[in-house]
Homo-oligomer: 204 residues x 2
DNA sequence: GTCTATATGGCGATAGAC
DNA sequence: GTCTATCGCCATATAGAC
């Protein structure tokens, strides 16, 4: 490679914008702060991305993709449903361990502008129907406890995502604000969450 | 009563500010919009609350109190631990059914200004220790499955709060953006959540 | 207490030199 | 492509009449 994309100005802007937007959101972020973070000046931001809105959308789309792990291989594998769920919790826990700001960022911005969501989500091919039908089949076969499959999926997502989204709150409550201790706690929680789910759906 | 507090200017401001802040957050809200919502002008906002920051803090403190149901009577009752948990899920589900914006508002603003949290929380006397020790005792007595009591509490909170906080996302995914249908779904979910938790913690 | 008018500063965006 | 300088607007906040 003759040009090192990692060090290109455009890439520096994207990195800086992601860092600022993910923490402070669209409304709370300033172009000046992004420019400082990137080590350039404001004018250059507009030269590359024209408006704050367009810069934000570039970051948002990228992060939405990050936030959706590839569940297809998991749910269309030959694994038992218990193993599929366990694998999903593992993947999602690791993903959010490395991107702890992601959940709150996505929730905040989707709430701010719900319309932009629909369009972007269609592009990402989000389709819970396939996962739900796996659950339905397993329930019909008597492999797991019968329930509304949407509830089961929402429960799995809740247990995986909320503890990360609520980090500032929960680390204060349980660890007197020591975010690093809470972070360690979350990683160890992986096993416990899988047990919690499996204990609940396994027939006795 | 000679003065009707409900119709006082101060109360109109507080109502309007809550409506705007809870939806758009501190950063996304405008004093002009709050003034319009209250049917007054901007200057009067500052006459009563001096700064946007102080007005926001008044709302934030009030909403934090709203967000924390009185769990003492529940957890110090003579009910079985299963019934205590079920009662908690009931209370919290109803609370959030009536205040669906609350979870995301609290998470967003605590993330924005984590320092303000600690002080306010101390004032509210939030002390999970008492709930945790109830769980510990029940686990020691073999009434419920042994686990880290913090995990159990976080699981209960996750299952109760996340589905509400993620309403714009989940109503899009499961109900094509029909928020009212999703809202109904959440209410019916109450039973399912209680079953999910109890199935998981009950010994076989 | 409530209003209109205005001060003050900051932010997104652009012009234009290099 | 990158910079400095600046425009134009909008938001918070204040002054001052009533």
């Amino acid at each position: 490679m003759t040009t090192d994309k990692k060090d290109s100005t455009e890439q520096k802007i994207l990195d800086a914008a992601q860092k600022v937007f993910i923490q402070k959101g669209m409304d709370g972020s300033r172009m000046q702060e992004i420019a400082n973070e990137a080590g350039i000046n404001k004018a250059l931001l507009h030269y590359y991305f024209r408006t704050k809105q367009k810069l934000f959308e570039a970051i948002f789309k990228k992060l939405i993709q990050t936030a959706i792990p590839d569940i297809k291989e998991m749910f269309f594998s030959e694994l038992s449903v218990e193993k599929k769920i366990a694998a999903f919790v593992d993947v999602y826990t690791d993903l959010l361990y490395n991107n702890p700001y992601l959940p709150l960022f996505v929730l905040r911005e989707i709430n701010r502008d719900p319309h932009s969501l629909a369009a972007i989500m269609k592009n990402q091919g989000i389709n819970p129907g396939e996962v739900l039908s796996v659950f339905e089949k397993e329930m019909a076969q008597g492999n797991i406890r019968r329930a509304d499959p949407r509830d089961l999926l929402i429960n799995i997502l809740s247990l995986s995502i909320f503890p990360v989204a609520a980090t500032p709150l929960l680390s204060e409550i349980f660890f007197n604000g020591e975010a690093n201790e809470y972070r360690d706690f979350l990683r160890e929680r992986k096993t416990s969450v899988k047990e919690f789910i499996l204990n609940s759906i396994t027939l006795r």
